[in-house]
């Protein structure tokens, strides 16, 4: 409680600057946690009433009152904590601006597709962390560690299923979100840059799907990835180099799987998280579009009324 900012602390009253030891009422200072600001202001009057007239009414009532005081102090904690963070970061105006900004008239369910894509990504991140606790990225052990997850780990198959099907859900949501943006003309001025970031996010999502496909290391994932890397290799000029980089050599080998693992676990999700941040910043800054069939009629109506 010493961490409380000065101005808030002073509210407690000057007679008890420190809160150490016992205060004037013979009450143990630590007991009622008198250092929590605000709360004491409310309860002080009652304290004085106790001291003045009803001191003899017994410890029972005093205890009940103390409990009441602790309750009041506790309800003040979130506000105090927010104030404490705000004073040190200055995030208050930004957070208020983000949460209480207006969304235009006509905002409908199509506008939830973006946040749903982000939620799918978060779900992938959480299930991915749990899978990473058991997964071993080597050609020898990958398959057996997945078998272990499926058959022995508690709820392992469910979490792996959520990760596997979550990928499908995320790809579908990202494409739907892109379709919404396209048909609503939401990529136009002033949101061009956010469209470009979005296209890069689509590409990164597909890269996640591709690099994750190899990791279970069963026949299906292995051969599909061989073909996918061969497709890269057919590209002009950089194709063969890109394929060599992905394989970690000229042939599919022991390094390939750890290479895909690093891309899938670190590089691509890091880029996605950073770009989602930029995407959201621009959304908050520029605002979401209004549905294109809505026109601002207000001024014309007003003009009519005036006539």
């Amino acid at each position: 409680m010493r961490l409380l900012p000065g101005p808030l602390r002073r509210k407690n009253g000057n007679d008890k600057a420190d809160g150490n030891g016992t205060d004037g009422n013979g009450r143990n200072g630590g007991n009622g946690n008198p250092d929590i600001p605000g709360a004491l202001l409310v309860s002080r009057e009652r304290d004085e009433a106790i001291v003045n007239g009803e001191n003899g009414q017994g410890a029972k009532e005093q205890k009940a009152l103390q409990r009441e005081r602790i309750k009041e102090a506790a309800t003040e904690v979130p506000a105090t904590a927010i104030g404490w963070v705000d004073e040190r970061t200055g995030l208050g105006p930004f957070a208020r601006g983000f949460m209480f900004r207006k969304t235009p008239k006509g905002t409908n369910w199509f506008y939830t597709l973006g946040s749903a894509s982000m939620f799918a990504f978060l779900s992938q991140a959480v299930t991915g962390v749990f899978l990473a606790m058991y997964y071993r990225p080597s050609a020898d052990e990958a398959y057996t560690s997945i078998q272990h997850i499926n058959n022995e780990v508690f709820a392992g198959e469910l979490v792996r299923g959520m990760h596997r099907w979550g990928a499908t859900v995320m790809v579908v949501l990202v494409f739907l979100h892109m379709g919404r943006t396209f048909f609503f003309g939401a990529y136009k001025y002033p949101r061009e840059l956010n469209w470009i970031i979005g296209v890069v996010l689509v590409l990164l999502t597909l890269m996640m799907a591709l690099t994750g496909y190899l990791l279970p290391f069963d026949q299906r994932s292995f051969w599909a990835t061989v073909v996918a890397v061969n497709i890269n290799a057919s590209g002009p000029v950089i194709g063969p180099y890109l394929a060599d980089f992905l394989r970690g050599g000229a042939e599919f080998g022991a390094t390939t799987i750890s290479r895909f693992y690093a891309l899938h676990m670190l590089l691509v999700p890091g880029l996605i998280a950073a770009l989602i941040g930029a995407h959201l910043y621009l959304v908050a800054k520029l605002g979401t579009t209004a549905p294109p069939w809505l026109k601002a009629e207000k001024k014309r109506d007003l003009a009519k009324e005036e006539i």
Partner: protein
């Protein structure tokens, strides 16, 4: 968009935004409901379909037909549309890269200030056409199975080679007689006309992309590999 159109848009948007509701709690409530629904769908699919795990990856087998995840079918099926081998790079890299660049540059290509989908018919029709094309390619990819039987009859001494070919996943990408998929790879019904056995052997070991190499089979089971080469050479 010129300065006047920009100004007009911003003014109109400002009015519509002024008539809207705050993000919290209205949009947050919708987003949260959607998030719950998404999580529900993910858990439902995980519970219903589980997380299958096929047999362990084995680089020496050739019996497995590579199939991508269904949302990559539209890219994979492009390989079937483009037939001549010297143009394969168009299907593998060319067209997807071109489409990606178009997509990135979309706001600079479509500078029409109109936003209503019905008032910009070219953009809307193009979008619908792209979605239909992707849907068509995806369905094509979903329907293309991987047959394991070659009905085309052959001489008795090449029977062994025929069964190797049938079980080696060739038909996933090639057509032999009435069996197999017409692409991404070329038809093999008359491959013996075009290539002699040594050339077929070289192609199997160092194929053109995206076909996987049969080096694994040639090292693990040279006899089967020879039978396969001999059988393919008889197709004419």
């Amino acid at each position: 968009m010129n300065a006047r159109e920009k100004e007009q848009y911003l003014r109109e948007y400002h009015v519509l935004k002024g008539q809207g509701k705050p993000f919290f709690p209205y949009a947050v409530a919708k987003d949260s409901m959607m998030a719950v629904f998404v999580l529900f769908v993910i858990i439902l699919m995980a519970a219903l379909f589980g997380a299958e795990l096929g047999p362990k990856a084995d680089p020496t087998t050739t019996t497995y037909t590579p199939r991508p995840e269904w949302y990559f079918f539209f890219l994979f099926e492009l390989l079937r549309v483009v037939k001549p081998p010297e143009l394969v790079f168009l299907a593998t890299i060319g067209i997807p890269t071109f489409c990606l660049v178009l997509l990135l540059l979309l706001p600079f290509i479509d500078r029409n200030p109109e936003r209503h989908p019905l008032k910009r018919p070219i953009a809307t029709l193009t979008g619908i056409a792209v979605i239909l094309a992707m849907g068509y390619l995806t369905i094509e990819g979903a329907l293309a199975g991987a047959p394991t039987e070659i009905e085309l009859s052959t001489q008795p001494q090449y029977e062994a080679g025929r069964s190797v070919a049938a079980s080696s996943g060739c038909l996933g990408c090639h057509r032999i007689g009435h069996n197999g998929n017409a692409g991404p790879g070329p038809e093999l019904t008359e491959i013996g006309e075009r290539l002699r056995a040594p050339a077929i052997r070289r192609t199997l070991l160092n194929p053109t992309a995206p076909m996987p190499s049969y080096r694994g089979l040639s090292e693990k089971n040279p006899q089967q590999f020879d039978e396969l080469v001999q059988y393919l050479a008889t197709l004419r």
